[in-house]
């Protein structure tokens, strides 16, 4: 049942570029998909392990910068050593971007998980701010506030077949969609495995989790590595799609956007960040016809507060509950009245 539904949704999204001719809308969907990918990775930490990481944009930005610099090349001097890198194909940049961000996830995880709760939040925010300040001030490498322009778009293919460079929005759409599907499957398999269960156990009750033999740091760090890598990859896609990046990419508001996507959709659910990502990817396009960006942000902030008060679990669990109640009710009518489904 749910598999059929998932496939129908996938089929719908596969068909989008076939009938959506407006390039601006398609562009919105591509950017929305990239942020959705980042939100899915954030959900691993925020939703499944219950660690409110508010520095997530650091992984996203690191991925973007690593991939951009890999494909643009750079030349910096560190302690009198001159390091020069010739441009490599963007595909390698994507791999490297994900890997470096994943490595950062490992290192930050090892360090930051020594503290919990509010302290963890503050360490992650600080980490992202430090990275932003480096991107802003290491002008030799990053070009600082002047941005890195002219990042080449992704080129796919192999020697014997030939290459295809992704100039069109439709092609980028399919690439992003592919990554979303792969990520979705990876996270689903992880969550349904002992690894994911250990993460959920740590979220629900850390002391009890250790009492059944689960190592805290091992699984939290594992989640951070996955989250970092996926966010890094989404950053690389962003860099090659938009083709210009600047330190503004590390803005705290970008993390907040991802957090809102996860919270609204439903943290700790597979579909949550997808639903939340779609809402907040598309909402600005609709809202911009009526109100300015400030009012939009005021609405998002108010919505975030509202969600916490009214729908703390998010949209997806609410729909699921409504759905199961509806089916339980019809089953109840069909059979003898039994115990109704409880929440």
């Amino acid at each position: 049942m749910s598999r059929i539904f998932t496939l129908l949704v996938l089929a719908f999204f596969l068909s989008v570029p076939l009938w959506l001719t407006d390039q601006y809308y398609l562009h919105t969907l591509v950017v929305c998909g990239i942020f959705m990918l980042a939100a899915m990775s954030l959900n691993l930490l925020l939703g499944y392990t219950g660690q409110l990481s508010l520095g997530h944009v650091a992984f996203f930005g690191i991925g973007a910068y690593v991939s951009a610099l890999t494909s643009l090349g750079f030349s910096v001097s560190i302690f009198a050593y001159q390091i020069t890198h010739e441009p490599w194909p963007p595909v390698i940049g994507v791999v490297l971007g994900g890997a470096v961000a994943g490595l950062c996830g490992y290192l930050i995880g090892k360090l930051a998980f020594r503290v919990r709760g509010a302290y963890f939040v503050i360490v992650t925010v600080s980490f992202a701010e430090v990275i932003r300040l480096i991107a802003l001030n290491w002008i030799e490498l990053t070009n600082g506030p002047l941005a890195l322009p002219g990042i080449p778009p992704l080129t796919l293919g192999f020697e014997p077949i030939g290459y295809a460079t992704l100039w069109s929005k439709g092609a980028n759409y399919y690439v992003v969609l592919t990554f979303i599907v792969i990520t979705y499957i990876i996270i689903k398999r992880l969550i349904d495995s002992p690894y994911g269960r250990a993460m959920i156990a740590l979220r629900e009750n850390e002391i009890l989790a250790t009492s059944v033999g689960i190592s805290v740091t091992r699984y939290l760090v594992l989640a951070a590595v996955f989250a970092g890598t996926i966010a890094g990859v989404s950053g690389t896609l962003y860099a090659h799609y938009i083709q210009i990046i600047d330190p503004m990419i590390f803005m705290f508001l970008n993390t907040v956007t991802m957090v809102i996507m996860v919270i609204t959709g439903g943290k700790g659910t597979l579909a949550g960040p997808v639903v939340g990502g779609l809402i907040f990817g598309i909402a600005p396009v609709i809202l911009r016809n009526y109100v300015g960006p400030e009012v939009q942000w005021i609405l998002y902030g108010a919505l975030m507060i509202l969600i916490v008060f009214v729908l703390p679990e998010g949209i997806v669990p609410a729909i699921e509950r409504w759905f199961s109640r509806a089916t339980a009710k019809s089953a109840e009518l069909a059979m003898e009245p039994g115990k109704g489904a409880r929440s």
Partner: protein, 263 residues
């Protein structure tokens, strides 16, 4: 009494003391639990039982002395490492993974039994799928043993109170204990629930599980214990069979206080 004299001892607590600043929670504690035995640790409120329990399970480090399980000292081990030796505890208040299903609770409990590898999991290889299926079978088995299999799909927090406590034990059992430490398992239960719990304990004992019990419910303690250790003001005042304990004047005084008259 040293561990050398008790070759059967599976768990031994030697010269353990615990100080919090100037406060002495446990002054000098020595006792052991033999393989297959059910020992209860009792004492009036504030006697130091919870502290003793936390020390034995590695959640707190004693100021001095040592606790060893099957000859391995627990000093410096993290709680999850103590568990991996086969010494598994339950918690005083209902302590479950509240928001997830009963079945998934037990699956989490089975963490130590998992053989899945990360890459295999992500690629969904046959070996990992088989391991997962085996894990699920074991989870059913444990739920049946505890007697809550018909509620497997319920949210843990949705269970009646007595069943929540049973699930707590199921979680501990899933961690493959060779010795089980139960912290006030029947507090707050009604008579029927307590009855079911005693049945479960008898089942576990027939499978050879060693049990250390901290409990306030005296009728139950008297009924099921092989041996009782009584703690008062941080030291052991009695150690013997239920009958010996019930008639020990020092125990009666610890529980009922110094009276002018005596029943």
């Amino acid at each position: 009494m040293t561990s050398a004299q008790n070759t059967k001892a599976i768990l031994s607590v030697e010269n353990v003391a615990m100080h919090f600043g100037g406060l002495i929670a446990i002054s000098d504690m020595n006792f052991h639990v033999n393989e297959g035995e059910l020992v209860s640790l009792i004492g009036p409120n504030g006697a130091g039982k919870t502290t003793a329990f936390n020390i034995i399970t590695g959640f707190q480090r004693p100021t001095k002395g040592r606790v060893s399980f099957r000859g391995t000292s627990l000093a410096g081990l993290k709680p999850h490492q103590v568990t991996s030796l086969g010494l598994v505890r339950t918690f005083q208040r209902t302590n479950l993974f509240d928001k997830i299903s009963v079945f998934d609770n037990v699956l989490i409990g089975l963490h130590r039994k998992t053989s899945a590898r990360l890459l295999g999991t992500l690629l969904s290889l046959p070996r990992e799928r088989k391991a997962e299926a085996e894990l699920r079978d074991q989870a059913w088995e444990i739920l049946r043993l505890v007697g809550i299999e018909h509620q497997a799909k319920e949210r843990a927090s949705g269970l009646p109170y007595g069943d929540q406590r049973l699930l707590g034990v199921a979680l501990a059992l899933a961690a493959q204990p060779s010795a089980l430490l139960l912290d006030e398992p029947v507090s707050g239960m009604n008579a029927t629930e307590t009855g079911r719990f005693i049945e479960l304990i008898n089942k576990l004992r027939s499978r050879g599980t060693t049990i250390l019990l901290v409990e306030h419910d005296m009728p139950m303690v008297m009924r099921i214990s092989d041996r009782i250790v009584v703690l008062n003001y941080g030291r052991i005042i009695a150690n013997g069979t239920p009958k010996e304990i019930q008639n020990d004047p020092e125990v009666i005084q610890a529980y009922l206080g110094q009276g002018v008259k005596h029943a």
